[in-house]
Symmetry: D2
């Protein structure tokens, strides 16, 4: 149950079987930092090339293929006062042939982050001057090393996690990843001060983070896709294109979870999900889109 | 501003240019009933063949192609004490090749509706005996006659509305439909006492309804897809497969709305939606899926 | 076995349960004409509004829901010397965000049709002056009235056929449609002098046609999707978006066909299709795309 | 212009920046072998783990990011007398909910390869005893190392090539790959004696190969996706899900090619492709599907 304080020196733009930067144990906690999507740190200095650079990987002793790695996000907070976003909605979420007519060429935009008051505001956009949005710090890209020696770009996601860009990955959430390699090799980066559903401009409000996370290894629990839980819901994640396929993975993973961990028979699961399931959109920008399948813990409490 | 009380005698399983059952005017209100998806009425009697039979069409005087019809759902309430659902999740939301192993053959299930206490519960499912869900009455299928003489099945949806199966179509919502034919020809039916996101078992808790709605004709306002607003959000609807394309229609329609009615320039819209847009899943069961693009009214109040 | 000579007076832009224009019998042949997609006839005169207007419907005595209607295209030939095409590839087959930079605004283009020599050439396109393409007259849109009172736009397609825009629908092909209403109600129109795969500019070379077709009613044969055969292949058609789903329908229909008519067991069908199946792209422009699943008759002759 | 004879000792199941096995030069030719998808060699001995193991990578001197690598398949021939296939069509090409009813559990099947007579036949399938199919040896998976340090599984494909499973990749074809890393790092494997369109059973007739290929480096030619040419056509490849997106990449790449290398203006390209484009289906099994966009060389000869 050691609490490690770790300062990253190198970053990776793939999730892969890279040399571990730190070895930790089941139950340990790590406090570290992440650079923003562009490779800039808490001082807004460029310290590594852009592309969702990841801190890590962290080697968790005892994690083996076929286990599950549980990561709790104990603390997620911006560590500087300015973030950035794009100013262009991705054409893949607009009608075929719809070409936006912009009056300017602002495709890079700074946002002021006020952590004390928990707010975010656009800088230099006249019409948005009075718009004060609530800060909602989240992790855009994190996960474990994938199977068969792959090194998967931090631009995308799959069964190992990766760039899911879901605005529910906030402080307090516990996330489960399947383990594919010894030590799991956990990576984390790509913080957002705020993000709309779908990350449809290709960025949230990109920010460097102070992060503290704790890890548990669940031996012998084999899961197919990332899972998570917060105070109100359990959640499963499907990462694929099109959205339809992301839904298929997330829903099927939820069925497995309800069956094995909640002891529900297939019929009860189908009847129940039909009337209580909720879906969130993670991202609709990356090569793999992300859909989230959710079930309320209150509902589960009443039947189990 | 007449309040009509109308008892349906015939029902339609397409939205089309059928003989109007009632002529009403801008500002009028209609109280009527709808049968459930199976064609059963408030007495649970089969009064018409199944397939989301619609009450109507109602002819709104003065509505012409190129106008918008605004329909406010003033009152939406179950008018009997038992609903039904399917017990099988549609294979299109499950992994390819995932075949559920059921212990029984329950694919038709009754639910008790307690309107006094605002609750719903499954009947005859042991594991769900203690699960009391909140009643959330909604309209599954409604809309106007489509263009060019089409008669479109109430199993699906398009620019004219139709079977969108969105659980946000509840009492209090105002919905806008493009008008394609003189009189608009408004149809309504397919009530649900409750429904999960996506209507993934192909039904909500299907129920006959008492419905009251009011209509306004917005002359010369041409919209591309259904729109709606409730107390907290404005919403646009895209109906298509795959989900990706439904998202494209809904998002592009939202951009048009923010531009024409809120006076926002293209850049402001793109920057804003990137960080505040929300998406809901309507249905992922019908031939056309439905995605909902939402923007908070609170956000809009701060910038306009 | 009557040979009817029929001159259309009215045209429809939906396939639906319209008043029949002619009653014919099993074994009969009809010689008639079709206008082009824009509603122009053999004299290039506008005789009906645009939108793939159909000749018909023809009522085939004895055809009942659950039967199959077999239509052989005995003769398909342009009946004038000029056709037209669009000059813009549909954005849905181009990369998201790819905006073509045209030097001109030619989005309507005439083509010369030389039926004697069996050739087609673009008129007024300098770079295409020396390009002489082989004439390949085909039927873009045909089919039967759909079920449950629907009237489906000739812009799209489904189980009833419709606007499939497949360049294999040429003279000599026999096409099977499921029958949904008494008399089947066969419609035909939208001739192309030539068309690329996918109809990616939204048109072939649009032309009015002289058409002769013969009909057979196959009693009690229930099929799920259109089927066809020519000298070399049997073919099944799936109409849906995305292409993936069109493939699913076409492939599953082929499996059914091989099972019921060729007596092949499921394993043999799977093994065989794996190594011999062929797919053609019908259209990738209409609301529903079309994919064609093909099996060589030579292969079938060797195993049955 | 050296002709290298190379015997592989190691194999990779990702395309990545692995240690080169041989350094070759622009104009060189390599004769080597590939194991089958299961890792078995010419003696049908297991020499490496399964999963489309690749021979290589071959380092081509002088190839730099931004160049194109041209690989001509001079010789592609099975080097043993037995291949294998699966016997189950992938559920993703079948209707949702269609569950095949097999009478046996044959999901691994051997095929006899007769290279002298150029034929292939299934072994031990009664109904297929008389079916003699023409041998069509092809390369299922080949390509170069991807960008940004990725190592991409040989189960899938992207801009770097990979597991495209297109039955047109036969002897005589010249294939162009974008170069992402110094030396390009060319990999090759996964031979098929024969394959249907789409590789819908997840295998062709899997076989080890004798392969001879020649390489050219085209300096400064930057392409977006793999391209190829054979005697009759030029071809571009899009690798993505769904098929619609694969089509988008392939078509847009074809437009770029016709513009830069054939000097055609945008309008001429759009008009031309509309009436002459052809599409082939590569695979519809892998995580990324493959679509092929083709233009006849005869057509191009007439306009350039």
């Amino acid at each position: 149950m050691t609490h490690h304080y770790f300062t990253p020196q190198i970053y990776h733009t793939t999730l892969g079987s890279h040399e571990p930067v730190l070895r930790i144990e089941h139950g340990d906690t790590v406090s570290t930092t992440t650079v923003d999507a562009a490779g800039k740190d808490a001082s807004n200095e460029q310290v590594t090339p852009p592309g969702n650079p990841q801190s890590g990987p962290f080697y968790i002793d005892g994690a083996e293929p076929g286990d599950t790695l549980a990561v709790t996000l104990d603390h997620v907070a911006p560590n500087r006062r300015v973030g950035f976003s794009s100013g262009v909605i991705a054409p893949n979420v607009l009608d075929f042939g719809h070409v936006p007519a912009f009056d300017d060429d602002i495709n890079y935009l700074e946002w002021g982050i006020d952590s004390e008051n928990g707010t975010v505001r656009a800088l230099g956009m006249d019409r948005l001057n009075n718009l004060i949005l609530p800060l909602n710090p989240m992790v855009g890209c994190f996960g474990v090393a994938p199977a068969r020696g792959q090194a998967i770009s931090t631009a995308t996601s799959s069964t190992h996690g990766g760039n899911m860009d879901y605005r529910g990955f906030v402080q307090g959430v516990k996330v489960h990843f399947p383990v594919f390699v010894p030590g799991a090799l956990f990576h984390i980066g790509d913080g957002h001060a705020l993000q709309g559903d779908g990350e449809i401009v290709g960025t949230g409000i990109e920010i460097s983070l102070d992060v503290t996370f704790s890890v548990l290894v669940i031996k012998g629990q084999e899961i197919g896709w990332p899972r998570a839980e917060n105070d109100t819901h359990i959640m499963t994640f499907g990462n694929a294109r099109p959205l339809d396929q992301a839904v298929q993975h997330a829903t099927t993973e939820m069925i497995r979870w309800l069956h094995t961990d909640y002891g529900l028979d297939t019929r009860t699961i189908h009847v129940l999900l039909g009337q209580v399931v909720e879906y969130d959109v993670g991202n609709m920008f990356d090569p793999a889109y992300t859909m989230v399948c959710k079930v309320s813990k209150k509902v589960l409490a009443d039947i189990t």
